[in-house]
């Protein structure tokens, strides 16, 4: 379990690992990866009870990444946590590799194959429901993109989560406000997400999804209310951590040029130095 300063340093390290991975693979969902990295960092290094040894045990905490396109961020964190050797990621997107642009169960540490949007929450509800039926004390964390909340299947699953009083379910919305076309609010208004999830029976907390201390404070409090599923509305910045990528829709899945890569790494190294 990492301390707050360790988590802060880890976030910068993950961003460097991520950009290196995307640069090598020549593909990746750069903006969304960067927006959700701090959430993944806090989950895997502080909050969730799971590691490579306990991953197959019936009592480990589950993580489902519904926004599957940000697989690179998950792979970086899983590699760092020892689920597989970091060198495996050199094969990302290569012919015959298990490491592709979305999470699959062929990768150690991945619970569910995702990639099509609007699927993760229902699967998480199923796992959480099984936990209640079997009286196990594991929790189920599911990361949702904000853009994917236009998929109606999310709201079907949300209704069921509340109906079965799944307080072992924690849904986290990576609320970066951008999708491939532009602002989520211009594409098809999502706001007010807090009120919508509350109306669907979730206990909702807002937090800064790029601030590890706020994330720790929030996620260590789950369940927010006994008998209700928890919803963390995590305000994030798409492209977080690299000044020229932040809040720019075109970085949804753009790969940095050599020059952009050097600039980005220089920024991250400066951030790293500032934390020492």
């Amino acid at each position: 379990m990492l301390t707050l300063p360790e988590l802060q340093r880890k976030s910068v390290q993950y961003r460097k690992d991520l950009l290196q991975l995307i640069k090598t693979a020549k593909a990746g969902h750069t903006g969304g990866d960067l927006s959700c990295l701090d959430i993944l960092n806090v989950l895997y290094n502080r909050v969730m009870r799971v590691n490579p040894q306990t991953f197959k045990s019936p009592d480990h905490d589950y993580y489902i990444q519904s926004k599957g396109h940000c697989a690179e961020a998950l792979f970086v964190v899983l590699a760092d946590r020892g689920f597989f050797p970091k060198s495996d990621l050199q094969t990302l997107n290569q012919y015959g590799s298990h490491y592709i642009g979305h999470p699959t169960r062929d990768v150690n540490g991945v619970e569910q194959n995702t990639g099509a949007l609007g699927h993760g929450l229902a699967v998480a509800v199923g796992i959480a429901l099984a936990g209640k039926i079997d009286r196990r004390d594991y929790r189920v964390f599911v990361l949702l993109g904000d853009g994917e909340l236009a998929e109606g299947s999310n709201w079907e699953a949300a209704m069921t989560a509340a109906h079965y009083r799944l307080d072992n379910l924690v849904a986290i919305v990576d609320r970066n406000g951008l999708q491939i076309t532009g602002s989520t609010e211009d594409v098809c208004q999502l706001a007010p997400l807090d009120q919508k999830f509350a109306a669907f029976g979730f206990e909702v907390r807002r937090c800064d999804g790029n601030d590890v201390s706020d994330l720790v404070r929030t996620l260590e409090e789950v369940p927010f209310r006994p008998g209700k599923p928890s919803l963390v509305l995590a305000r994030t910045k798409k492209g977080k951590g690299v000044s020229f990528m932040e809040n720019v829709a075109k970085w949804h899945h753009k790969v940095p040029t050599d020059q952009e890569y050097s600039l980005a790494m220089a920024e991250l190294e400066a951030a790293e130095a500032a934390l020492k």
């Binding site: 019936p58 589950y62 699959t104 169960r105 619970e111 569910q112 194959n113 995702t114 990639g115 099509a116 609007g118 699927h119 929450l121 229902a122 699967v123 998480a124 509800v125 199923g126 796992i127 959480a128 429901l129 099984a130 936990g131 039926i133 079997d134 109606g152 299947s153 079907e156 699953a157 209704m159 069921t160 109906h163």
Partner: protein
């Protein structure tokens, strides 16, 4: 042929038996327990049924999650909705993710008759055959239904089973063994072969009896497992008899018939061959029985098709 129960009723009672033996067995329904004859199950095993409301995508996603946590899951809903609205959940959450969920399509084909195309499932074999990793089953009678449910409960891979609402006669059969992926020989004969599945096997037997009166001996095969296909049964039918007629309560496109045709063609076997199913058109209106008759899926219709094929 002695009348028995609807396959759906046999499904529900078999499932209750299995649930009593396996506390990890769960049934998930989408406001479909009544249609699925599962009300007695819900009363007898209330802790083993999960209701998700009228939300088929949710039904299959939750079923996959329950299976991920070690449950033996039967996801039950009318076939028309289950294999269309939640097709992507079957594809990704179940098949691609290797979750051993039994997807149960009830009131399949044109069971709902005059309720119309919204309630018909004439696409399910075609759509699901293209998914890797799923076993597709359409049992013909109560015996096959019971055996198929028991086999599905033991499978550690995804399965799709579909049943109708109609009371089905007990079919005669040459051997009583049942195995998924292994065709069931209902009647022996060498003049012509019928390869049928689900509720179309019974009218095929009726056709065989009509043909027998005219000296034409039919081989009737219940191809209850559409995928994986029992290839040797199809190849033998084509090489040992004078022609092959496939019969299914499905569109003529992409189902059992085209699976057999593709196999024969790629095996270099040329045979007299006819696919009987529902034509590629807006389905005629009427009851299941009337629709079957319209498309020649009854004793006289199939007998006529056989004679025409043999005269070619």
């Amino acid at each position: 042929m002695e009348a028995a129960l609807a396959n759906l009723e046999v499904f529900a009672s078999t499932l209750l038996e299995l649930a009593r033996e396996d506390s990890d067995l769960l049934v998930v329904t989408s406001d479909s327990r009544g249609s699925a004859k599962l009300a007695p199950f819900a009363k007898a095993a209330p802790g083993q049924i999960v209701e998700v409301g009228i939300a088929e995508q949710n039904l299959v996603g939750i079923a996959a999650g329950l299976a991920a946590a070690g449950k033996n899951v039967f996801a039950v809903s009318p076939a028309c909705f289950l294999t269309a609205r939640s097709l992507e959940q079957i594809k990704n959450d179940v098949c691609y993710s290797d979750r051993p969920v039994s997807v149960i399509g009830i009131s399949a084909g044109v069971s709902y008759g005059a309720l119309g195309t919204t309630h018909h499932s004439l696409h399910d074999f075609a759509a699901l055959r293209a998914f890797h990793n799923i076993t597709i089953v359409a049992p013909a009678d109560n015996f096959e239904t019971r055996a198929a449910i028991k086999a599905a409960a033991k499978l550690r891979t995804p399965a799709y089973l579909r049943f109708g609402k109609k009371t089905m006669p007990h079919l005669p059969r040459v051997a009583s063994a049942f195995e998924l992926g292994k065709a069931s020989l209902v009647r022996q004969g060498n003049h012509i072969s019928f390869i049928a599945c689900g509720e179309t096997v019974a009218p095929t037997v009726a056709a065989a009896e009509l043909l027998a009166a005219e000296g034409i001996e039919s081989r009737v095969i219940s191809m209850h497992t559409i995928k994986p296909l029992d290839e040797s049964a199809v190849l033998q039918a084509a090489t040992e008899t004078g022609g092959v007629i496939t019969v299914e309560e499905h569109s003529v496109n992409g189902g059992l018939g085209e699976a057999c045709a593709g196999l024969l063609l790629q095996s270099g076997i040329s045979a007299r061959f006819k696919i009987v199913g529902l034509a590629d058109e807006h389905t005629v209106t009427g009851s299941q029985q009337e629709i079957f008759k319209h498309y020649g899926i009854d004793g006289p219709g199939l007998a006529a098709t056989a004679k025409k094929l043999l005269s070619r």
